[in-house]
């Protein structure tokens, strides 16, 4: 027999509910990965500053290094692993191709809950401040 059955069962229900949260919580659950949209210019370029796999995993590291290089050391030139040089600039290099922040950056960042990015504390968010957007490219 079960002593204090009421309390035991209540406790077990709370325990099971807590540990199965991922199974019952959330209305937008899907096993699909978020789809990114590349701008025409990005498609045309074919490759980012570094290979795609590396950018997926390490873009935050690259951006951090770029920030330090440009802002702290005044070094505006980046040479990638293939020997090609790029101007170190989020807005003029990265977002020249990836001008569609809301359909590129935000898709994965939203999916992964990377919400506390402070990129846009200093840089212009093209989806919010269109008038101030300095890009000469008109495909956003």
């Amino acid at each position: 027999m079960l002593y204090d059955a009421g309390k035991i069962i209540a406790g077990l229900v709370i325990f099971a509910a807590f540990f199965t949260v991922p199974f019952w919580y959330g209305s937008d659950k899907t096993s699909e990965m978020p789809k990114l949209e590349l701008t025409a210019k990005a498609k045309q370029a074919g490759q980012c500053v570094e290979p795609k796999e590396q950018m997926r995993q390490n873009h935050m590291q690259l951006l951090d290094d770029w920030r330090d290089a440009a802002v702290r050391d005044g070094n505006r030139t980046y040479t990638n692993s293939a020997g090609k040089s790029y101007t170190v600039s989020l807005q003029n290099t990265c977002m020249d191709c990836h001008a569609n922040k809301d359909k590129f950056c935000d898709r994965c960042h939203g999916y992964m809950g990377v919400s506390e990015l402070y990129c846009w504390d200093c840089h212009l968010d093209p989806t919010k401040e269109k008038n101030l957007w300095a890009s000469t490219d008109g495909n956003s």
Binding site: D28, R56, L63
Partner: protein
């Protein structure tokens, strides 16, 4: 031996995961089958353990107390140290579960003083490291909900923001990562350095510590050093929780499988190890009982109905003979006073 065995066991688990995924290409086994199995073992095992405890009767009132029991109204009672009602028990349990109050009283014997006397001193570091470890573990556990939910609950970004408040590096350094490493390292070193604690430490004490250290280190490596494609990771975890398991198209680094496999081992090991204290703390009779044995009689649940013969019944049976033998009786035979009573 007590240290090396669990250490090599954890290293073997790490190697197993790497070889299994990169050598034998069993990413489906390590990514889908083992996580499901571990989760089922964990949930089922914990429930079975709790049911097992709940089926065991508690024959005695055995709260361990260290305060004035509730007695006469003019004697001040301590309802947290020796609770006499449910509210007191809840307060006492809450302090125990959330702040490890009993561990705060931890003492340590020391014989190394100048006069070679055995001295007992207060020892708060175990309490502090234990508290830091458990709270950061919970914090990190909740933080991981971002891999298991869509939409992500509101408190997860809040926890992450608070954790990464220092904005060191990208991805931002989580303070809990440092705290859990420091706390678990302390718990390991304590078992190694103190002779009397080392003497009573078994492989089952070191194994969970090394396992959790392995989980923390692999997680830290994955976040800051050997990065993996997290979107693929979340695609995998979400396919698990939507019960439509599927390996993502892109490859995921081996360090992820090491992290996941060690967690699976932890989950599967949980119900059969000292780690069940997660559930056990709520069911320990020395903590969850009221100390009200003077107010309420505690009946041993396994007492079976005893057929007993009271003195009154005995006297009724033998009254004539007792009077005949000159023995005193409480009630005289067939006197009117019997009915008057």
């Amino acid at each position: 031996m007590n240290v090396m065995l669990p250490l090599f066991a954890v290293i073997a688990l790490v190697v197993l995961a790497i070889v299994g995924v990169k050598g034998a290409h069993l990413s489906g086994l390590f990514g889908i089958v083992i996580p499901y199995a571990a989760f089922v073992i964990f949930l089922g095992g914990m429930i079975a353990r709790v049911i097992g405890w709940a089926r065991s009767p508690v024959p005695f009132k055995i709260p361990s107390t260290c305060g004035q029991q509730k007695s006469l109204p003019w004697i001040k009672a301590d309802n947290l140290e020796t609770p006499h009602n449910t509210a007191g028990v809840i307060g006492r349990m809450a302090l125990e579960v959330f702040f490890f109050r009993s561990l705060f009283r931890n003492t340590q014997a020391d014989y190394s003083g100048g006069e070679q006397k055995l001295v007992y001193g207060s020892e708060k570091f175990l309490w502090l490291a234990g508290l830091a470890f458990h709270w950061t573990f919970l914090y990190i556990f909740l933080r991981h909900l971002r891999f298991f939910s869509e939409p992500i609950p509101f408190f997860v970004p809040f926890l992450e923001g608070l954790d990464g408040l220092l904005q060191i590096g990208v991805p931002r350094l989580f303070m809990t990562d440092l705290v859990i490493l420091a706390a678990v390292t302390f718990l390991v070193v304590r078992r190694l350095m103190l002779p009397q604690v080392r003497y009573i430490s078994l492989p089952a004490d070191f194994f969970p510590l090394f396992l959790i250290l392995g989980i923390a280190i692999s997680g830290i490596l994955m976040r800051y050093f050997i990065k993996v494609d997290l979107v693929s990771v979340k695609a995998l975890t979400m396919s698990l929780v939507t019960l439509s398991p599927r390996m993502p198209e892109g490859p995921i680094g081996a360090v992820f499988y090491v992290h996941l496999f060690l967690i699976c081992v932890l989950f599967a090991y949980f119900p059969f190890s000292k780690l069940v204290h997660m559930g056990g703390v709520f069911l320990s009779p020395t903590r969850n009982q009221t100390n009200n044995s003077r107010e309420v009689r505690h009946v041993n649940p396994w007492n079976y109905p005893v057929k007993y013969h009271t003195y009154e019944e005995y006297e009724d049976e033998f009254r004539e003979a007792m009077i005949g033998a000159g023995l005193p009786v409480e009630k005289q035979a067939a006197t009117p006073s019997e009915t008057a009573e």
